[in-house]
C-alpha cells in the first residue's frame, strides 16, 4: 500500500482540538502523523494530495442513525448501495438500526452485519441490537449476547417502547452491561394514525396530526425512568423545543441522557410538505419554524451530542401514495455533511464544532474509537471543499434510494474524497 500525504489542507480533529493548516501522512492504512515539519519531503513513492489551502481534511464521518434495506428490504437499499451513498458524503462508519426483516435480535445477525460492512471495503457497520425481540416492544432481547457479538447500543428503531414498565426494566437491565438505550422520542398512542405535526398546515391539508408534545411527553417519562434506574439513555432525532428543554434541564441535573438530531430538523420546517410532498414525510414529522430554530439553538449550545443522517431509504412505490399512506423517511447519507455545513455558513456553528458533531462525539457515545485523526488510528478520512456549491437532485444521488427531503436545495460544501483504512473509496470528479 502506497503512503498518502495530504498537503496544504486545513486539518480539523475536534477530538484533540486540532484546527490548523498542515499535512497528514497515511502509512500502511493508519495515520502516521500530523506534525511533520514543513521541510520534510514526502516519503518515497507517496501519493500526494494537494489541498491548495482550500480543502478541509477531517476524520471520516460517523453516522449514528442509519436504516439500510438489508436484510429484508433490498429493493430499497443494500449494504453495497448504502456504502456508495455514505462514502460520497464522507461517511466511513454507520450505525444501523435493527428493525430489518429479520430484526437484529440475535447475535449471529449482528456479526453478519459487521461482516457485510467489511466486505464493502468502504465502510464499517456498527449494528444496533434490537432492544426487544422483533422490535415488538414486549420481551427483552438478548442484550448481553448481542453486545458480545458487537451490537453497539440497543433500540427498537422507529418504534418507541410504549409501556413504561417495560422501559424501566430495559434501562435497569441494560445498565448491568453499561449498554446505551436509544429511544424514538414519540408517545405512540398520541402518534397513532398521524402523519404531520398538528397545527395550521395539517389542518389545512386535512392530514391527521401528531401533537408536537408527543415528543416531550415521552422524553419526560424516560428522563424520569433514567433517573430512577441510572441507565444510559439516548434520544434519537429530537426535533422540538420542548423536548430539547427537558433534555437540557435533565443534563444540568446530572441525569445520564444524551441526544442527536438529523439535518431535516434544523434545515427544513413543515411547510416543505406543501401540497402533499411525500418525500418530505418523515418520522417524527417535520415541525413548525419555531421548533426548527430551537434545534439550531440546541446545536449551538451543546445540548445536542451528535448529528445523524437518519437515512431511511424508500423506493418510488413506497412514496408515490396519498400522503397519509406513503412511507415515512428520507435519505440522508450523501447530504449529511453539506446540510450540516449550512449551519456553519449561517454562523450558527463553528467548523470544528460541526465536524465534532459528525465524528468523535457520536463515536464516543457508541464507544467506538472512530472519528479522530490520532496517530495510529485507521486512516478513515474525509476531504471536502467547504465552499463548493451544488444542488441536491432526487434521482441523481449516489446509491439506490433517492427519496431525499432536500430535493432542489442548494448547498455549499462538497466531499472531494473519502478514505477507508488508507484506501481511497470515493473521489469526486469536479468538486
Amino acid at each position: 500500500m502506497k503512503p498518502v500525504l495530504f498537503e496544504n489542507v486545513r486539518l480539523i480533529d475536534p477530538a484533540s482540538g486540532l484546527d490548523r493548516a498542515g499535512r497528514l501522512l497515511v502509512r500502511d492504512g493508519v495515520i502516521a502523523g500530523t506534525d511533520l515539519p514543513g521541510a520534510e519531503g514526502a516519503p518515497d513513492g507517496a501519493e500526494i494530495i494537494d489541498g491548495q489551502n482550500q480543502l478541509v481534511l477531517c476524520p471520516g464521518l460517523v453516522d449514528m442513525r442509519v436504516t439500510i434495506g438489508e436484510p429484508g428490504f433490498e429493493y430499497r437499499e443494500t449494504v453495497a448501495s448504502a456504502a456508495r451513498a455514505a462514502v460520497s458524503g464522507g461517511i466511513t462508519t454507520i450505525a444501523v438500526l435493527p428493525n430489518t426483516s429479520p430484526t437484529i435480535d440475535n447475535p449471529a445477525l449482528a456479526r453478519l452485519l459487521r461482516a457485510r460492512g467489511e466486505e464493502t471495503g468502504m465502510i464499517d457497520i456498527l449494528p444496533y441490537g434490537a432492544l426487544t425481540r422483533e422490535c415488538a416492544g414486549k420481551e427483552m432481547a438478548e442484550i448481553g449476547l448481542l453486545a458480545e457479538a458487537g451490537a453497539i447500543a440497543f433500540t427498537d428503531g422507529p418504534h418507541a417502547i410504549a409501556d413504561s414498565r417495560t422501559m424501566r426494566q430495559m434501562l435497569t437491565y441494560a445498565k448491568g452491561f453499561g449498554a446505551l438505550i436509544v429511544q424514538h422520542p414519540e408517545d405512540p398512542s398520541l402518534a397513532r394514525g398521524g402523519c404531520a405535526t398538528d397545527g395550521e398546515l395539517a389542518t389545512r391539508l386535512g392530514l391527521p396530526g401528531i401533537p408536537a408534545a408527543a415528543e416531550a411527553i415521552l422524553i419526560a417519562r424516560d428522563i424520569r425512568l433514567a433517573r430512577m434506574t441510572g441507565g444510559r439513555l439516548h434520544f434519537g432525532h429530537v426535533s422540538t423545543a420542548e423536548g430539547l428543554d427537558l433534555i437540557r434541564a435533565a443534563r444540568a441535573d446530572g441525569v445520564n441522557v444524551t441526544c442527536d438530531t438529523a439535518p431535516p430538523y434544523f434545515d427544513l420546517n413543515e411547510t416543505v410538505i406543501g401540497d402533499f410532498r411525500t418525500y418530505a414525510k418523515l418520522s417524527p414529522p417535520l415541525r413548525a419554524e419555531a421548533d426548527r430554530r430551537a434545534v439550531c439553538a440546541a446545536l449551538a449550545d451543546g445540548t445536542i451530542d451528535a448529528i445523524a443522517s437518519d437515512h431511511m431509504p424508500c423506493d418510488a412505490d413506497d412514496k408515490r401514495q396519498p400522503f397519509a399512506v406513503a412511507s415515512a423517511g428520507g435519505t440522508g447519507l450523501s447530504t449529511l455533511l453539506a446540510v450540516t455545513l449550512a449551519q456553519v455558513h449561517a454562523g450558527n456553528l463553528g467548523m470544528s464544532d460541526a465536524i465534532g458533531l459528525l465524528t468523535h462525539r457520536p463515536a464516543r457515545l457508541l464507544r467506538s474509537d472512530a472519528g479522530t485523526l490520532a496517530t495510529g488510528q485507521a486512516a478513515d478520512l474525509c476531504l471536502f471543499n467547504p465552499d463548493s456549491g451544488w444542488i441536491v437532485r432526487a434521482g441523481e444521488l449516489p446509491g439506490k434510494a433517492q427519496n431525499t427531503p432536500f430535493d432542489g436545495r442548494a448547498l455549499e460544501g462538497r466531499v472531494v474524497g473519502t478514505w477507508k483504512n488508507g484506501q481511497r473509496v470515493f473521489w469526486a470528479q469536479a468538486a
Binding site: 398538528d198 397545527g199 395550521e200 395539517a202 389542518t203 389545512r204 391539508l205 386535512g206 392530514l207 391527521p208 396530526g209 401540497d275 402533499f276 412505490d317 408515490r320 401514495q321 396519498p322 400522503f323 397519509a324 399512506v325
Partner: protein, 326 residues
C-alpha cells in the same frame, strides 16, 4: 335577490378566465373571488337551463367523464353523472372501493389505466387527503376533486355558496355558522376557504374534540356551544357526524351529542329570523338535526342538491374548455 347574468356560454368565452389556466379543480383554498364568481354565474345559468330542460347536450359530446369513486357516495356520484349527461358527455361510473385496490393496484396503476382509456374528465373521490392531487400529476384528464379525506370538497363549497347567493344576493356582511364535526370534514374546510374569500364572517361550532385547535388560523372564530355560535347568524350550516365517532372516543353518545349540538327549533331561534338551514347530506335526523328543522321553511337542503348539479355542470364546462380551475 340579485338577478344572475343571463349571458349564454359563449359570452363567458375566455375573457373572464384571463388568469393562469388550470386543468383541474382540486380545491378552493386560495381561489380568488374573481375566479369564484364566474363559476357561480355560469352555474346560475345552468340552473335555469336545467329547469327548462334545455341543456346544451352537444357541449361535451364525444368527451368521456369517469366518476372514479374510491369511497361510496350515491349522491355526489349521481350529481356528477347527471351533470355530465346533461352536457352530453359519455359518463362511466367506476366504484373502486372494493375491487382493484384490494387486489393491490396502486393509485398510479389506476391512473395509467385511465390514460389508456382516453378519459377527458375524471371526477375523483378518495378517503385519503391529497389522493386527487396525486392522480392529477399522472393523468392526462382534467381532475375534479369530489372529496378527498378530510382535505377539500370544492364543488360542495361552490354549491353552498351559490345557494347562499341566491337567497342573499351578496356575501359581504353575512355571518355563517358551520356546526358539528369540523375536524373530519372536508366540507367544512372548503366552505371556510370559499366563504371567507367571498367576505363572509365564518364561525365554527362544535365540541372541542371535533374542532381542530388550529382552525382559527383559517380566519374563523371558534365556538363550543350552539347558544354562543348561532346567535345572530344568517346561515346555519350543519355537518354530518359519523356515528362511529359517537362511541366514546370523541363524543360519549349520540344522545348527548344531540342534547348539546343538535339543531332544533329552539336553537335555530337564536339565529336571525329568516336564517337559512343547510346540510350537505345525508342527514342523521335526531343526531345533528331535528326533523322539524330539516323540513322547515328555513331549510334549503333540497335546493342545495339542485344547485349541486348546476355547479358541477359549470365546473365540467369550464374545465372542458381548458379553462380555469384552482
Amino acid at each position: 335577490m340579485r338577478s344572475p347574468p343571463m349571458s349564454d356560454r359563449s359570452a363567458h368565452g375566455s375573457n373572464v378566465f384571463l388568469t393562469r389556466p388550470a386543468r383541474h379543480l382540486l380545491g378552493v383554498q386560495g381561489m380568488h373571488p374573481t375566479r369564484i364568481t364566474p363559476i357561480l354565474d355560469l352555474a346560475e345559468n345552468y340552473t335555469l337551463l336545467n329547469r327548462s330542460r334545455k341543456t346544451p347536450r352537444d357541449l361535451l359530446r364525444g368527451r368521456t367523464l369517469i366518476n372514479l369513486f374510491f369511497e361510496d357516495s350515491t349522491r355526489t356520484r349521481t350529481s356528477f353523472e347527471l351533470a355530465g349527461k346533461r352536457l352530453g358527455a359519455d359518463v362511466v361510473n367506476m366504484t373502486v372501493a372494493s375491487s382493484s385496490v384490494n387486489k393491490g393496484e396502486t393509485l398510479l396503476d389506476t391512473a395509467a389505466t385511465l390514460n389508456a382509456m382516453h378519459t377527458d374528465l375524471l371526477v375523483v373521490r378518495h378517503s385519503q387527503s391529497g389522493a386527487p392531487a396525486l392522480l392529477a400529476q399522472k393523468v392526462q384528464a382534467s381532475v375534479v376533486n369530489a372529496g378527498d379525506g378530510t382535505h377539500e370538497h370544492p364543488t360542495q363549497a361552490l354549491l353552498d355558496a351559490l345557494t347562499i347567493r341566491r337567497h342573499f344576493g351578496v356575501f359581504e356582511g353575512l355571518t355563517i355558522a358551520i356546526c358539528g364535526d369540523v375536524s373530519h370534514s372536508r366540507v367544512a374546510r372548503s366552505n371556510i376557504h370559499l366563504l371567507t374569500a367571498m367576505g363572509c364572517q365564518v364561525r365554527v361550532v362544535g365540541p372541542p374534540t371535533l374542532v381542530p385547535g388550529a382552525i382559527g388560523a383559517l380566519g374563523v372564530s371558534i365556538h363550543h356551544t350552539m347558544e354562543d355560535g348561532l346567535r345572530g347568524v344568517d346561515v346555519v350550516m350543519m355537518l354530518r357526524v359519523q356515528r362511529e365517532r359517537m362511541k366514546g372516543t370523541q363524543v360519549p353518545s349520540a344522545r348527548e351529542y344531540f342534547r348539546f349540538y343538535g339543531l332544533d327549533n329552539k336553537r335555530l331561534a337564536l339565529a336571525k329570523p329568516h336564517a337559512l338551514v343547510m346540510h350537505p347530506g345525508p342527514m342523521n335526523r335526531g343526531v345533528e338535526i331535528d326533523s322539524r328543522v330539516a323540513d322547515s321553511d328555513q331549510s334549503v337542503i333540497r335546493e342545495q342538491v339542485e344547485m349541486g348539479v348546476a355547479v358541477r355542470m359549470a365546473v365540467l364546462d369550464i374545465l372542458s374548455r381548458g379553462g380555469d380551475g384552482a
